[in-house]
Point group: C3
Chain length 339, copies 3
């Protein structure tokens, strides 16, 4: 979608420096940009690279000089650029209209503005909101409720009675609402413990490819507004995740753990069952948080079992020097033996 | 399905205390239960919570007093409750009848009582047993054999010649029988080593969403009866897993490893190739078991590389005190230097 | 496909010892082989096992005596056997012809020799090359380009504009080209950073079941020729992977990391963002490579954070002896206190 620099500046709340009539129609990296692509510079050290770009218009933070370019000046340049991109880039439609091969149960309610791709299957009593797109081969279970402006990519499964808010994006291969991993042991075998809860997902959530979110057992699994889950993330039954929390790829959250708002969880983190990560806490990549552990508000933890980062580093520095410590002990023993 | 307390007590082998005519039709957590939901108390400390519930009937172990409730008394209350739930809860059907869009190869044998969902594809010579349900979009490869009363959720792939027992549940996105990760290196490249074996899965197995189980190379991959695999678990070629073993989410088992019966493997464990986990052993979450390692019968291991838990803790306690040890060495050096 | 021992010897570059007219039609493990299966022995210690096999023809390296067998002698026996298997084994076809239920967009170009399975969906302007097979339920996004002789198994998703070379095999459940995990934070929320790049995959690549490869953000994600990715591997946006690199199951590569040629990465390794693994380097299973780290050419690393293996072992040996070190410190303190 074409915009002038002036229009964009207004849309993203930036200060215009230069030619307000300059037109942009896309975004690109400086090296790949054409004249009408918008580029983005986040630090003075990249100014040269940006200066050499064919792009005419750039988003940059205060203090970064870009001679010869029209500049959209914004203190949070990356965010301003992302905002501009959300306007400039046309998203590839996931579906257009309701494909004749889509199977929509008689009592399902699909809004007339919604789109459903080829071979998608929408179960009885399911609800699909305004302008929501359901990709090819996605299976929406009976009783699911999906809000408006959602993007459900091809090959997504929603088991029965999953609730999805507005503007949610779910990537291909994600499975939401499968039974949690809960069994009762007796008579020499494992018997499924009832997995009778649902999954509830708030507005503006994004769920990565091949991620899995299990339904609650006797409680529900709840993902709050603005949460971003990367690919192959696993969320167990009864887990609660607070607003605007981000979880990187391949992390697993075991049953009945609670994660607060604005938490940042790195990749391949393992969060055992019944843990609490309070709001604003951070778990570094590959951390392992043992059963029942609480990570306090604002705390950053690393390692397995996870420790507060300063403590982790204090220990780790000596771990790395273990051969030296051992040598020093040996020398002491020699001296003390001598004395 | 409605049952009286008396009927349930008989079904689950509990002792009835109270009103045998009280009716129940579902299960719930105490806080959420209606009058006719069955609840479950596992310890005296939860008795108050259960007492405040609207539910009239509860499963509880001996010694937990619940005044005003009809109690189904069972020593293994959790197991008794799970048993009751298996009777009370009607499972959402995965498919009803054979959908006209299902593509069933001419020589496939689908039992008349089996159901096949929309767009499912069943290959030549495949066999689907009595009352088995195959979900929408599932692809059953040629020559597969699936027993009776299985639940294959939507969007499951079985490659050719996979064998599945009875009462097996396979969750959405699971892929069974893909080629194992085996190559021969020569002439500067990797060439696929033949992955000519099959996958064999015993009765009462449950396989989590997006899990992957590779076919054998020159041997077979075998998952015994009663095994429970959580979401995103990976099982490599030629692996053998014994009866009633449970493996939590995101764990990986590399090629040709053998796991015994009744083994418990936590989440995100990495089991390298050619390992042996003998029956009754336990591997804690995120443990890493190096190539060729044997974990002895009944042993519990933690950490990477995995160690017997007591040894792990003995070392770990000193790891956490490394800064103190370093300080003590420094003090010793000061004293010894002085002397 | 039937071959004589003589024909096979020529095809795989082996020296024939014995009956060149002996026919073989498949490959098998020694214990399972019939008379006309080819077997393989890689070391003298397995000669007895091979000798007892019903197979008449075996591939073996120099120095391994196999009396009574026709031997195809090759220095790299495993590779020679894999080569023979690639000739002898007929691969199960993924699709035969273009199934009438496949939905191929009007402007898509599917080569007349290509096959497309039931319910597959091929988007506008997509290209499918000669003899390529697209499995049932696979979704090929608009603008994708797929070369010749590729094997795309059932239930694979290619988002828009993914480019795939020749002889590429993609296993079921893989998702290629989903948005990378990139956000700009502002106004108390995360906003998607544009994920405008593509994914490019070279010739002879194999991608495991349920693996995910994200598209580039302002750059592209590139997987070079001969790369082998195991199941459930995650590759983030803008990642570059060099030729003939192998990555085992459940490993994750975060955004903008670069991996060279002939690198070997174990299972469950976590490679943070902006790392470099130079050509010929090796990362052991479960290693964790921190943000921005470079692993030098030919280096082998272990552990989290990853260290050169000799350094790792030097430290680790003392880690395991920590209780002893602590005891020695205690004894020193006793002596020094005495003195």
């Amino acid at each position: 979608m074409n915009r002038t620099a002036k229009e964009l500046a207004e849309l993203i709340g930036a200060t215009l420096e230069g030619d307000g009539a300059a037109e942009v129609h896309g975004v690109a990296a400086p090296e790949r940009a054409g004249a009408r692509d918008l580029i983005y510079v986040d630090a003075a050290k990249h100014a040269e690279r940006a200066g050499a770009s064919a792009a005419q218009v750039a988003v940059a933070p205060p203090g970064v000089a870009l001679s010869g370019k029209t500049v959209l000046r914004a203190s949070n340049a990356k965010y301003a650029f992302a905002k501009a991109a959300s306007v400039l880039r046309e998203r590839v439609p996931i579906a257009r209209g309701v494909h004749p091969t889509a199977i929509i149960a008689p009592l399902a309610r699909v809004h007339p503005t919604a789109s459903v791709g080829p071979y998608a299957v929408i179960g009885e009593d399911a609800h699909v909101g305004e302008f929501t797109e359901i990709g090819a081969h996605s299976v929406i279970g009976p009783g699911c409720w999906i809000g408006s402006h959602c993007r459900v990519h091809p090959r997504v499964t929603l088991y029965a009675s999953v609730r999805i808010g507005h503007r949610v994006e779910i990537h291909s291969g994600a499975v939401i609402g499968a039974d949690g991993f809960g069994y009762a042991h007796g008579e020499g075998r494992y018997l499924k413990f009832p997995q009778a809860g649902i999954v509830e997902i708030g507005d503006d959530v994004e769920i990565g490819a091949n991620a899995t979110i299990d339904r609650g057992s006797l409680d529900d699994t709840r993902i709050s507004q603005g949460v971003k889950l990367d690919n192959l993330v696993h969320v167990g039954h009864n887990v609660k995740i607070g607003a605007n929390t981000v979880i990187a790829a391949q992390t697993g959250v075991s049953g009945s753990s609670t994660i607060g708002d604005n938490v940042i969880v790195g990749g391949q983190v393992g969060i055992a069952d019944h843990c609490t990560l309070e709001s604003g806490s951070v778990a570094g990549a590959q951390a392992g948080i043992p059963t029942g552990k609480t990570i306090r508000r604002g705390q950053t933890v690393w390692g397995t079992p996870a420790r507060e980062i300063d403590k982790f580093k204090e220990i780790y520095v000596w771990y790395a020097r273990l051969p030296e410590l051992a040598e020093r002990i040996k020398e002491l023993e020699a001296k003390v033996g001598e004395s």
